[in-house]
Structures are given as structure tokens and as C-alpha cells.
């Protein structure tokens, strides 16, 4: 079970409070976690990654175990603490805008 923490606007959009928990059928990576997240909450499609290209949106970053993993390969396995659910996978909206 993977724990995911979403930023405010995406929690509102997905109509969830607090963390999201997901079963990820494959070895957890950025790609498989986001695939599972979008499958559970289709409303989030296009809001983290672009439709079609699956390119990360510019003002979105990913953190795992206190480390910014945004620029890691989307297929790189996530740390064991994420895979086991001990630590959450964080989707962060940049502190920007007005």
C-alpha cells in the first residue's frame, strides 16, 4: 500500500481529506504510483502530468523520504519506505503565484 499526500487544490478536486492510499500493482515508481492515482481519481488526469505526453507539469514536484526526486527517472524504483507505506509519496505544488 502506497500513501500519497496531495496538495490542497488536488485534494479538493479529488474530494479527499488527508492522505490517499493506493494499491500499486507493479513495483512502485513515479510512473506506476501516478498511474494508480489517476486510475482511482480520473479527475486528476492532466493536473499533475500532461495528457498524452505524461510530462510533469512545470510547477509540480515529487518528494520521497525528505528528498526531492522530481528529476529522477519516472521508472526508477521508489525507496523501500515508500513501497512499504512507512513514508508517504508527496506531490507538491510549487510555492508560486499570487
Amino acid at each position: 500500500m502506497i500513501r500519497v499526500i496531495l496538495p490542497h487544490h488536488l485534494r479538493t478536486l479529488a474530494k479527499v481529506d488527508g492522505e490517499v492510499t493506493l494499491e500499486v500493482p507493479e513495483r512502485p515508481s513515479q510512473r506506476t504510483v501516478l498511474d494508480a492515482l489517476e486510475a482511482r481519481y480520473p479527475v486528476l488526469r492532466g493536473t499533475i502530468r500532461d495528457h498524452g505526453t505524461a510530462k510533469r507539469r512545470d510547477f509540480i514536484r515529487f518528494f520521497a523520504c525528505g528528498r526531492d526526486i522530481t528529476l529522477d527517472s519516472v521508472d526508477e524504483p521508489l525507496p523501500e519506505q515508500i513501497a512499504s507505506g512507512a513514508e508517504p509519496f508527496r506531490v507538491v505544488a510549487a510555492m508560486a503565484g499570487g
Binding site: 496538495p7 488536488l10 478536486l13 492532466g46 493536473t47 498524452g52 507539469r57 505544488a93 510549487a94
Partner: protein
Amino acid sequence: MSGVRLLVGTRKGAFVLTSDGTRDDWNVEGPLFAGWEIYHVNGSPADPDRLYASQSTGWHGQVMQRSDDGGKTWEAVGNEFAYDGVPGTHQWYDGTQHPWEFARVWHLEPSRTDPDTVFAGVEDAAIFRSTDGGKSWQELSGLRDHETGSQWQPGAGGLCLHTIIIHPDDPQRMFVAISAAGAFRTDDGGETWRPINKGLRSRELPDEEREVGHCVHRIAMNPSQPDRLYMQKHWHVMRSDDAGESWQKVSGNLPSDFGFPIAVNANDPDTVYVVPIKSDSEHVPPDAKLRVYRSKTGGDEWEALTNGLPQEHCYVNILRDAMAVDALDPGGVYFGTTGGQVYASPDGGDNWTAIVHDLPPVLSVEAQTLQ
């Protein structure tokens, strides 16, 4: 009993303002989608409880919302706007070619007859259609594929398709406007389009007869006279009496003919409203006075409407989609400002009252007349 529902999009959410037919007292609901930019909310003429909203942020991009109960509840619908085929390029600010990239939905225009059919005008300029209530969107790519497409250049706000007008009797005919490409018309339901910019003069363009490149800010029509179109261009207020085949300048005695919105009284196709702005450099009202100008003669002769509007120290702007009219008699006129006020006139512009003073900057106002 009749009433009016205003659909207000702002930089930080949407608001729904409702009143009975007197339009004296207003109920204000919102913000909906708090914190999101709501470029436009619009209702279906065929089913006034069917609303569509364009919701976006820089973080999360485009989301589309639909309501089936007049705005009480909302459901996120499809937000994939994929250009048809290989999108190609348009002209960038520096004259180089730039790939077509979807940014956001500026304007939503529901079909006059089918609540499930709605058109979306987007940035970078294109028109999309949904026939399933917003669940999926298909581009009408004949517009963007027009032979002039590679010459289209963004205005300061982006290369946006901001105006869609559907002919009241012939749904095959539609008009759109793009900043800064110009106005276009289709007579075959969106398969093919052609520029309708003859008579427009833009001093930034050395070629006076140029087919595209005009920064059209807004077009308006009264459905009772569908061949007559009014246009607020970057500079110049224009009128066409032949469905856009030709345009003539009707700025007349306006203190400035720069501005963004233009609207036609619902009961009289000769009565038109604009809000002059000092210049394209300053984007504030002339003399710091907020004045709507009304012509009852189809342009050229204009009168200032000031009762209830601030006549000193006013530096707000009124954006292109932020003015609307209702269909009651006498016709109501409404507009929202970048200062967060929404003004209403229940008597065709003679007297104005601020329904609300302190909303976020207003991006759009639509008026639904409810029976």
C-alpha cells in the same frame, strides 16, 4: 416569476449572483472553485440549469466543470484538449515560429438547442466542440489549419480564441475572434473558416489590406439581427451589417475607442455599450472616471452613462468577457471590473449599482434570464 442569474468568473473562483425580475436585491453565492482562475462560466440557452465552467491554475492546468442544477452542484468533466493532427506553429512575439501549445479555455459557448453540445475557445487559438456534455472534446481544426494560421501572433494576453457567436437560426454559421489574428466565420458548422476582417485598420500592420493580424477584443450580436455585428478592436469600435463581410468604424465621439468588452441591448439591436479605456499603454478609464458609453444609433453617436459609477480616482479595467445583458424589458446591463466590483443597471444603462464591491479581479460575466 422572472429573474436573472449572473455567472461571474474571477481570478480566485466563481460567484453566482441571483435576483428576481426587479433586479433590486441580489443574492451572492461563492466562491466556487476557490483559488482557481475561472475564465468563464456560461449556461445553456436550451437548459438554463446546465452550466459549464472553465477552471484553471498555473500549477494544475485546465479543469472543466459542469452543473446540471443551476450551479448548486458541480461535476468535473473532460479536460483533454488535444489539437488535431500535428499542430504545427504560429508566429511568436518576436516574429519567429512557435509550436501550438494548449494553455487554457477562455470562452465557453453552449449550443442554442442542445444542452450537451458546447464549444470552447482556447489558447493557443483553436475551437473545440463537445457533444457529450463536456466529457470529451474534439477540435474543429479547419480553423487553426487555415492557410493564415502560421501568421497568427499572440496579443499581450496570449493567442486566445475569446469570442464564439452561434447564429440564432443557422447553427452552421458561427463567428469567432482571436487576439491577435482577427475575426473568422464558418458557414458549414466549423469544417471550414475564412477571415472576415475587411475594413479593419491596425496601425501596427504596414499592409492596410492584411487579412489577419488584427487584435479583435470582442464581438457582439443581437440575435434579432444576426447580420449585424459589433466589434471592440484593440483600437476602434466597428460595425458590420453584412455578417462580417465588411466593417466600418463607428467610434464617433467616444473619448477613446480603445477598450475590451462590447455588448448589444437584448431588446434593441441598435443599442450598444462599450467601456472606453484610456490607451493600450495604461489600461485605465479616461480621466479616472468609470463611464459606460451607450449608442442608440448603432454606433457613431455615443452618450456617457455615469449614474452610480465612480467619477473620480477610478483605475479599474473591464476585461473582454466581463460585460453582459439580460433579456428582460427594460434590458439589464452588467459588467465586472479588475477591482472586483460587479455593476448592474436594470434600466438599460441609465442607473448603476454595485452588486458586490470586493470580489477578486473579475474575468467574465454572463447573464441568464430565468423565466
